[in-house]
């Protein structure tokens, strides 16, 4: 076997704990060299953590990683890279101020004596860029690239490291169909060269198209594997979720169509992100927002809520309102749950109590804050939202992803909004918590709240929403409902492959 051939990998009883939270509960399976594996699982299934262990970014709490049959304990990603294991992150690991070439060779700089050999790096980078099909000069600062180009630079970086095992975590999340096509051709070529590839994606059609075998994880455990050719997409989805998908979602209750809209947005634009968007949502209605990453959904709503500059008319219960800041939004009964739970949603260093009450502190100030009333509110919220916390005094950081999300939901609901915008409400939570969140959303709708759910998981929107608005490149291109709410239709609208047909 030549030195460039792919690596065989074995996981033997991998356990991983972050503080008190165990996210992997003894994962064992083997990968043969030179095959393309699809690693499937819902958000929070532990795929990314397992791959970070394989690539040396994390150390297992228990268990062994075997590379070509030898136990391997990587102290860091450099050691894993020396073995030829390269992970392309879901979040980019690029230094924005460096050039493309500088990033590709970061940590592996070519040298001429004491000085950098810029020429060698430039030509090396050019070769890698040609391979991924990115037509950009190696001297371009990464800051100037768009998201999809950054993704391709990440892949070029991996290629230049002479990977023998390449792990890609949601590589197409930011790519257009044609760019994704190029990536698939590249994966084909790597397979032909005998490189082992692990491909993580939510997009089952991609998994079906390019992988040899599918491995499924759920809630930190290995649940099964099968040759891709033997599985239907439905079977893959059922394996991921662990139950028939229909069971995940509550029955839809039709909203009263006679009611006037609780929120009506007209011709709203957010410079650089969204233009001329109009939509309405009634009390009791769940309106989904679909679209690719970067389609401008989050930015649109941040604009509406006064978190970034935007313009357009907003009516709440028919009254024209101006939202210049999140305070205005809260005052008018709008609340927003951010997709970025740790960066924008919760103070993870804080205990649970101040997190819960932050948006409704006026209620507890008489004029001094009534800590006991806050504590009672926390106890009530823990019961109502099913937050499983080890102790009431613990920090939010120590909660599991699903429980953090329930706390974040309880927090944005604390000021008792009438319109609730949920951005990726089930990101990074396990299947059980997902189901609870879906039922909670349904319950809120039944109580007469108007809900907007932004999600990248189409299954979620189909299962939950009454109507789904699809955005593409900052424009609202279609609103689908009823029988039209299928994955195929929404993907077609989101990617622009459906040219104003019916």
């Amino acid at each position: 076997m030549s030195a460039t051939a792919g690596l065989a990998v074995g996981f033997d009883g991998i356990v991983k704990r972050f503080g008190p939270v165990e996210v992997l509960h003894g994962v064992s399976f083997d990968l043969e060299p030179g095959k393309v594996y699809g690693l499937l699982g819902e958000n929070g299934a532990g795929k990314s953590t397992l791959m970070k262990i394989l690539a040396g970014y994390e150390q297992p709490s228990e268990g062994l990683v075997l590379i070509d049959g030898e136990p391997a304990a990587f102290a860091g990603s450099r050691e894993a890279e020396a073995k030829g294991i390269v992970l392309i992150h879901q979040e980019f690991n690029l230094a924005d101020d460096l050039t493309i070439a500088g990033n590709i060779f970061l940590g592996h700089e070519r040298r001429k004596g004491w000085l950098l050999d810029e020429d060698a790096m430039r030509s090396g980078a050019q070769t890698a860029l040609d391979q991924v099909g990115l037509a950009r000069a190696p001297d371009t600062p990464v800051r100037r690239l768009i998201v999809a180009e950054k993704q391709l630079v990440e892949i070029a970086k991996a290629l230049s490291r002479k990977a023998r095992l390449l792990i890609m975590d949601e590589p197409t999340a930011t790519l257009t169909p044609s760019e994704a096509g190029k990536l698939f051709a590249l994966i084909e070529r790597m397979r032909a060269e005998g490189i082992t590839v692990i491909y993580i994606s939510h997009k089952l059609d991609e998994v079906e198209r390019i992988t040899d075998e599918v491995i499924v994880m759920r809630d930190g455990r290995f649940v099964g594997r099968a040759p891709t050719a033997s599985l239907t997409r439905h079977a893959m989805a059922t394996m991921m979720v662990g139950r028939e998908i229909a069971d995940l979602f509550p029955e839809k209750i039709a909203a009263d169509s006679a009611l006037p809209p609780a929120l009506a947005v007209e011709n709203f634009s957010v410079p650089g992100w969204a233009s001329d968007i109009s939509f309405t949502v009634r009390p009791g209605e769940i309106l989904g927002f679909a679209g690719l990453v970067g389609a401008g959904r989050t930015e649109l709503f941040e604009g509406i809520l006064g978190l970034r500059p935007g313009s357009g008319t907003i009516r709440r219960d028919g009254k024209l309102i101006q939202l210049r800041s999140p305070r205005d939004a809260t005052r008018h009964g709008l609340a927003y749950l951010s997709e970025d739970r740790k960066g924008k949603g919760l103070h993870i260093d804080f205990p649970l109590r101040p997190n819960l009450t932050l948006m409704a502190l006026e209620r507890y100030a008489k004029p001094l804050l009534d800590h006991e009333a806050e504590q009672r509110a926390l106890e009530a919220a823990i019961g109502e939202f099913g937050i499983r916390a080890g102790s009431l005094g613990m920090r939010a950081a120590s909660l599991s992803g699903g429980n953090q999300q329930k706390l974040a939901l309880a927090k944005v609901l604390h000021p008792e909004p009438r319109v609730l915008i949920l951005d990726e409400p089930t990101r990074g939570v396990d299947v059980g918590a997902k189901r609870e969140i879906y039922f909670l959303i349904q319950k809120l709708a039944a109580q007469g709240l108007a809900l907007i759910v932004i999600s990248s998981e189409l299954i979620e929107l189909i299962g939950l929403a009454h109507r789904v608005a699809v955005m593409r490149e900052g424009r609202l291109v279609a609103t689908v409902e009823g029988d039209e709410m299928t994955e195929a239709t929404m993907i077609a609208h989101a990617t622009g492959t459906r040219h104003v047909a019916a």
């Binding site: 924008k344 804080f350 932050l358 001094l368 080890g390 613990m394 120590s398 927090k411 000021p415």
Partner: protein, 337 residues
Amino acid sequence: MSQPDTAERAEARAREATVPLGDRIAAFGPIIGLVLLCAAGATLNSDFATLDNALNVLTRTAFIGIIAVGMCFVIILGGIDLSVGSMAALIAGCVILFINWAASAFGSPLMAVIGGAALAVVLGGVFGLLHGILIAKGRIEPFIVTLGTLGIYRAYLTYFADGGALTLDNALADLYAPVYYGSFLGVPIPVWVFLLVALLGALILNRTIFGRHVQAIGSNETVARYAAVDVERVKILTYMLLGLCVGVATLLYVPRLGSASPTTGLLWELEAIAAVIVGGAALKGGHGSITGTVIGAILLSVISNILNLTSLISVYLNAAVQGFVIITVAFLQKGRR
């Protein structure tokens, strides 16, 4: 049935133990340090453990301590103020000029002194407001803003004093003196004021919306903004609060020497910041306590007091010893976060 239950409870107990333990150590660390230091002081010199000496130490702590209470808010907010020493010097100079002028203009020395004291607080508030606006509205780093004003304030004092010192007229100085030298129930006035400021500070930090918002912004400004906290307003008010504290500290300081010179308040900013950090606050913001700050300020002046009373280490090394203490404390806190 009972097994998973106990396992769950054990896990819960483990969580309970892991999380707040660090906080508890952080809260008690400075107290333990202070107690050990006092025990050492008492064994080294019999004069240390006397009521007179204790009140002397507390009186000297009052200026830095009052400023440190305000600084505690700024540091919890995630900011910094390097200008407080210069600000105190300039306020002292302005107050002295005002009182000297007003005594003849108003014809009432008492009114002049009261007006001067009020001016100290007003000036502190105005300077703090200026910082707050530049930082919150102008979006300039607090380090840069206050580095700039650090130079500006001291330069203007030097200019007003023409390079020398501004001095209160003798009669006025005698009238003002009790504010520093007087005592109530046997305890010096500055110590009472320090206590009052600290209590108020603790109340504001822990029991008001403003205090909660300060902590929220320092812990994560973006999360606070998304949670509809008026970040700009809270920032401006926090710097103003520190300015007011500097004003109060200065109004106590002026009668002590009755003069202000270019060396007045030199390095106070560092002592105030050090007191907050020794008291367990994180310089990156989000976390800190008034009690800790008060203890930190006392601890630092106890160190210099012990050096003064004993010949163990030269008094000239006072700042060095404080420096070692600060670095040690920071090192001990490192494992906590």
